[in-house]
Homo-oligomer: 180 residues x 2
DNA sequence: CTGTATCTTGAATGCCAATCAGCGACGAGA
DNA sequence: TCTCGTCGCTGATTGGCATTCAAGATACAG
């Protein structure tokens, strides 16, 4: 039935799997999305995915890279906005990727690769946050710690549902406390 | 082979399962502990657990209740200590239960019962934190928000590994920012 | 035309949570 | 003392899952 399609899509197949996986993982989360379902949506046999990806966690990582690089592009376009606005937009942005970030934390203990991705991602975010804070007037020695505080607060907001207004209040309070 | 043991242990069996499950879940986490393993350690057949608990998440909840009530007892004995000491002790305490708290966040999306447990737990912790902050001199209107900030920072510390010294620095910075 | 590397697949394998249909022990009532 | 229903427990099974295996199909090089 389904034949070899190499002549049709030479290197696009992997990309298509990633796109399909991204949609499904965003919508239903890691645990509720089976490899079989990803394969079905991509129009391939279940085990075909294993030719392109070592295992399910590697699919997750590929999806995460797409999501993050897209988010970074968005962030860049907001360069002119005040910090508060950018933080709120960032949270809304990440939230639109569903439970992906929570899934990462859950998979970190199972997969060293996801662990590594997470650590590197955290490092990058912290660097960005430190730069933002220094730029906004926080002392360089304190910026390192304040960056962690801010990131953990944002993670808390992402991990727990909040009404929009409450979320803004919390961010405002955090910024107020940092820029006392 | 294994016969009915009702005459031997009337209502202790459930407790034993909980104790065994607590040890295993603390040590290896939710996903890496199978029902079969819990059963084997408790000396019963795999499906016997389902006589006492609706499903695996209910076992988790029973274990969480034990862990939390034990932690609360510990907290009470620390009543005299300064806030900073108590927070650090609390973090160390929760950390000794392994990845249990992370597991809760991961299961929240799968099980409404775990969701409910989590929400109620968060409410309780927030109440305690607000009381602490008000008692330490934070304005009552701000205490609500600061409590959330502090809790999210603590959750961040629990979710990510830190050297002891770094953890203390972060807590100190958080308290410094709140009590500016 | 032939061999080799590249894709793709159907059919396993093995682990897991959860279910099913009973089996033996006890306790109440005859 | 009998018996019958409920309680505590069990072996066997089911269905879903990630992952592996052996082999088929395709393209390309020589």
């Amino acid at each position: 039935m389904a034949r070899n399609k190499r002549h049709l899509e030479p290197k696009v197949k992997k990309e298509e799997i990633e796109l399909v996986a991204m949609a499904l993982l965003k919508e239903k989360g890691y645990d509720n999305t089976s490899m079989a379902e990803i394969a079905r949506s991509a129009g391939v046999a279940a085990n075909t995915i294993y030719w392109y990806f070592e295992n399910k966690d590697h699919v997750l990582i590929a999806v995460l890279n797409r999501v993050v690089s897209h988010a970074m592009e968005e962030v860049i376009t907001q360069r002119e906005q005040p910090l508060r606005t950018r933080v709120l937009k960032l949270i809304a942005q990440v939230e639109s990727s569903g439970s992906l970030m929570t899934d990462v934390h859950a998979r970190v203990r199972h997969s060293p690769k996801v662990q590594a991705w997470h650590d590197q991602f955290h490092g990058m975010v912290e660097q960005l946050a430190v730069a933002e804070l220094v730029n906004a007037g926080v002392g360089p020695d304190e910026a390192q710690l304040d960056a962690k505080l801010l990131i953990y607060v944002i993670e808390g907001l992402l991990a727990h549902p909040h009404k929009l207004q409450e979320r803004e209040q919390i961010i405002d309070q955090a910024l107020k406390r940092i820029f006392a």
